[in-house]
């Protein structure tokens, strides 16, 4: 999977789109992520408190869903997510609840030469979509990519 040579700037096709498989977000994902990150906010950990909230139940950490998104993209375009990220702009549009199933649509939206000689910048738009077709998160990543010599 990651045995292939790293992508060079010239290999990247603007407009190319990737659609990931789905991933059901489970209680175990949320509990593990709370333990790993140390974010025990009641939004994610107190089922009783959340019954009376606007969501009616616990919701997944936004950064958990963002991280699952990265994993999903790596299953369809590993060469793309291996490119080091320079910037990430992200919006959390709506809650992801335990039992929701999300998938990702990623699209290479732009590429241009970087200020640093020998390098280029590539923009990837990503949308995280739930089982009802609602965009729950979206954003853009910028990647520094080496240009092929010669």
């Amino acid at each position: 999977m990651s045995a292939q040579a790293p992508l060079s700037f010239e290999d990247i096709k603007v407009g190319e789109e990737f659609v990931s498989p789905g991933r059901t977000v489970t209680e175990m994902d949320v509990v593990l992520f709370a333990g790993l990150s140390g974010d025990y906010n009641v939004l994610h950990t107190d089922a009783e408190h959340m019954k009376s909230s606007q969501f009616g139940e616990r919701i997944a950490h936004g950064l958990l869903v963002l991280s699952l998104q990265q994993g999903l993209v790596s299953r369809i375009a590993p060469e793309l997510v291996e490119l080091p990220m320079a910037e990430l702009g992200w919006k959390f549009r709506g809650p992801v609840k335990i039992g929701d199933t999300v998938h990702v649509v990623a699209r290479v939206s732009d590429k241009r030469p970087a200020d640093r000689p020998g390098w280029g910048l590539v923009t990837v738009e990503r949308r995280v979509i739930n089982q009802r077709g609602e965009v729950v998160q979206e954003g853009e990543s910028e990647h520094m990519v080496e240009r092929r010599l010669g």
């Binding site: 999977m1 992520f33 990150s37 974010d39 025990y40 990430l88 919006k91």
Partner: protein, 148 residues
């Protein structure tokens, strides 16, 4: 001199900070934490991320996730965050297993809304050499204090 009281102390409950308590410009610094191979294994297994070409490199997003937990460990009662709305983030330097990170932050601005308020937080993750590895701005929706 006060004598020892027979009355039991009031119960200890988790105190909270609300939108009204947030002070613009006040610097906050978290304790430090060493990023281990266990963190990377757990994160990669949980998220299904492809293994990095260099196994000593910490996934970019893991550092951001760890800073979210560190953010609760500051000398201020926990902020009642209703929602994480957005962030704009820059990755300056790679992080390696064994590096020790902490996060520094301050509120850049706050804006009152009808139900709660929006807080714009500037945050930098620094390593044990005091180099900024990642930094950016986070937008949070924070609860207001309920009227007494």
């Amino acid at each position: 001199m006060a004598s020892a009281s027979a009355a039991s102390p009031p119960p200890r409950t988790e105190r909270s900070s609300y939108f009204e308590d947030v002070e613009v410009g006040v610097p906050l610094e978290t304790p430090a934490m060493t990023v281990t191979a266990a963190h990377v294994s757990l994160f990669s297994g949980l998220t299904g991320g492809a293994p990095a070409a260099d196994p000593d490199v910490v996934p970019d997003l893991l550092a951001l996730c760890l800073s979210s937990g560190l953010g609760w460990r500051v000398p201020r009662p926990p902020l009642v965050v209703l929602a994480f709305m957005a962030f704009d983030w820059k990755f300056h330097l790679p992080l390696r297993i064994g590096d020790t990170i902490r996060s520094r932050s301050h509120t850049a601005a706050k804006r009152s809304m009808k139900d709660g308020g929006v807080v714009f937080e500037e945050r930098a993750i620094v390593n044990h050499r005091d180099e900024i590895v990642q930094s950016g701005r986070l937008t949070l929706l924070v609860a207001k204090r309920k009227p007494a």
